[in-house]
């Protein structure tokens, strides 16, 4: 499974918790179908009214499907690589 970064417009009134919940539900919905998609996490940048979501899935199309299902207004979906973080 490949990681993808979904860059979506999130207006000020949006609740990050609600967006996360929708993203998770959409990913689960897609997984019940033919394209398994896993929601990983989101990072919200209020100043830019932008939310970055990390999904794992087989392709951009599969992730776009999940993102559309979640109602994310996502102009951009690109392949991404995550570092391992603070653990050694």
């Amino acid at each position: 499974m490949t990681s993808f970064l979904v860059e979506a417009y999130a207006p000020g009134s949006a609740s990050i918790a609600e967006i996360e919940a929708r993203a998770r539900m959409a990913a689960n919905e897609c997984s019940r179908g033919r394209a398994p998609v896993r929601y990983v996490r989101s990072i919200y940048v209020p100043a830019d009214q932008t939310c970055f979501h990390i999904f794992e899935g087989p392709s951009v199309d599969a992730v776009r499907l999940a993102s559309d299902l979640a109602g994310l207004s996502a102009p951009r979906i690109v392949e991404a690589f995550e570092g391992r973080g603070g653990s050694t």
């Binding site: 860059e7 979506a8 417009y9 207006p11 940048v45 939310c51 207004s73 951009r76």
Partner: protein, 932 residues
Amino acid sequence: MIGRETEVASVEAFFDATAMLPGALLLEGEPGIGKTTLWKSGVRAARARGFRVIACSPSGSETELSFAALRDLLDDVFGEVESELPAPQRRALAVALLRADPASPRSEQGAIMAAVLGTLRTLARSAPVALAVDDVQWLDAPSAAALTFAVRRLRRERIALLLARRVEREATPPFDLERVFPDRLQLVPLGPLSLGAIHALVHARLGVVLSRPALRRLHELCGGNPFYALELARALGQGVIRLEPGEALPRDLRELVGARLTGLPEQTQTVLALAAAASRPTTPLLEAAWGEETSAALEPAVVAQVVEVEGVEVRFGHPLLAAAAYALVRPRDRRDLHRRLAAVAEGVEERARHLAQASELPDEEVASAIEEGAKVAFRRGAPAAAAELAGQARQLTPGPNEKKARRRGLMQAESLFEAGDTGQAAALLDELIKRSPVGLERAGLLSRQARYRHFGEDAGAGVELLRLALAEAGDDPSLRTEIEEGLAWGLLLMRRDLPAAAAHARSAVRFAKQTGDQAALAEALAAQALTEFVLGHEAAAPMERALELESATLHLRVLRHPSFAYGYLLSCADELHRARDVFLHLHGRAGDHGDESALAPILNHLAFVRLLGGAWDEAERLLDEAYTIALQSGQGPSQASILSKKALLKARRGLLAEARGFAGHALELSAGPAFEVARPQRALARGGETAIWTLGFIELSRGNPAEAHRHLGPLQETLMGAGIEEPGELRFLPDEVESLVALGRLEEARALVTWMDQIARRLGRPSALAGAHRCRGVVAAAGGDMRSALAALEQARTEQERVALPFELGQTLLALGKAQRRAKQRAAARETLQRTAAAFERLGALGCAETARSELGRIGGRTPSGGSLTPTERRVAELVAEGHSNKQVAAALFVTTKTVEGNLSRIYAKLGIHSRTELARRMMREAPTSKL
């Protein structure tokens, strides 16, 4: 709407809060920031909530076209409301909306404004109304003025204003909204969009996806401006720019938009410029102006989304595109475009506007056409637009045509005056007068200048100008009518040389008959009637004739209608009911015509009629209303006159300190801080006459006859010296007689009374006869001849009872009662003085009532007891102590409850008590009381 969720919520909440109406919401921001999109969303929200929406979106090219915006707003609803509007307003609005041709030569600006207000109110009766205006900064001036007038007068109507305005620097909200709706004006500034919103926008509209660096660069360049962002994204998509570091990019939005247009074929650019120059571009108009088919030329612009063509209407995607299309063309070519549009323009005014922009050099044919446009604009009720066009016509008049240039200058001045810009009108006239040779034309300019600069402010200077004009006017009938009439009014206003005023008025009538102008004749006859009237001459014939011709004057300002003079004559001649009817009718007429300048003077006269008739509460209310209007419209002499009447009313009520305050203020307004009692002329010319009378009355009431005479003596000398013999102009004379009597100057008093008597007998007028008899009685009593005094005062009573002037009746009865007491006719005196006190109390003249009660108390040597209570107070105290309510006491004594309350306050204060119980205890200690 991407990026405007908060603003959309604000707009929707505004339309949800109908309890807060009337109110306004103003969207503001720089060009391209998204105001129109949000405004349109607001319009949809209003409709969805059941609002009746009337909307307009003026463009930059319509700013100079009179009432263009009003037509967009009201044309569709005119049929619905026209039957609810008074006829003058209906006609005037129809002309403004180009549904009818102007029928009168004067500007109907006032009637149009009143019609707009009436229309909004009518619509709001059946559903809340949303008045939506996009790009408010481009409203044409006459429409803006009419809307401002209407908005200022909204009170509880369910009307919501949704406005959008381009703001490039700080500016006050339109329509005087900050003052009119201090708590109900919402300002919604539209700021830049966020990075995320910009990205969502370009993706949604153009399908463009940007890398993070490119997005950052684009956002930085456009500053969050959505229109700019879309233009950049479009240019990016076309490969015109790449948004790479170090790349040379367009400096600003204008350059970017311009670059978009320069990429179009030359023919397309030219047709776009033509469309931008036209106020309402349509394909037939463009083809007629261009001379050939335009669809093919417009096609590339349609594909590039610069314009869209809906049916025959051609609309630019954004005003910035129109501005850019116009700016791309060279000035020489722009003039050619305007020339083509002038050739096919339908309206005279529109043609004039295009010609003005097409012409660089003076050209008589062009100047003449623009002058025609000015005339049409004036007659349609757009004097500001007419002034602008007349000014352009003047500038384009070729050098040798000096006379035509001056004529156009005069038209410009007249239009400026009509539009309310008196200062500029007067300044322009000064310039024209300097350039005019001595003769007929200059006489006309001088006459106009007298009216603009001086009447209302300095009648003396106005009269001097008119005398100069008269010397140069020759025998031209129109001009002589105007000048002679002006002199008649001027001298009348100044209260100077009234015989000359009457001679000028008669001359005006002679010349007016030669012109065949019925309106001018009606005005001249009214001037003749008034001047003859104040001289004590017969005035019925000219007044009747003037009234017969009144219908010819209805297009003039209401104060110039003969009825106004007639109302005044009636009020002097004891015909108070008829005077009231006339002024009420004129008030309605002024409202129907939207003639605000007439309201304060009419209400002032109406108030005085009610004051004389004893309806003092109503008079006070009318004076307050008149003063508010006069203050708002800056009518100085009207303010002074109104305050003078207020002073008199307060003085008659016995509120002497307040009266003095109002009189002082009135004199300051009319004569400035340097008012001299011995030289009252300036005050007389500017509404201060009644203030001087009031100050004299106050001094007399306070027992200061010397001070009273100091005010009233010069007043009498000035007015009688001017030739005035109309008692209605000299109502203060009885007070002057009393002052002279109190000063022991009986010979002077007798001479004045003889004069008053002669006038009164000649006129046969009851109030004048009553005044003369009363004064004769007072003088006789002072001389010790009680028999003659009583006879004269009885005659005064008889005459006074024939007319409804309750205060004067009270004064007559008081004088009679005093004389009867002095003549030891105790029973008669008691009855007269009781009647007097009751009459004054009914009126609310508490000071005079107190005087009557004091006189009553002196009959039979009775002295007040119970802590110096007056007889009235004693009676009230007795009845209250017996347990009667204030209402019962009032009924028993034939006075008002208010009077009883006033008496009780004084009783408590004098006896040092605080309750009815205490009063009852106190009275029980004294003599037994009477029963109700």
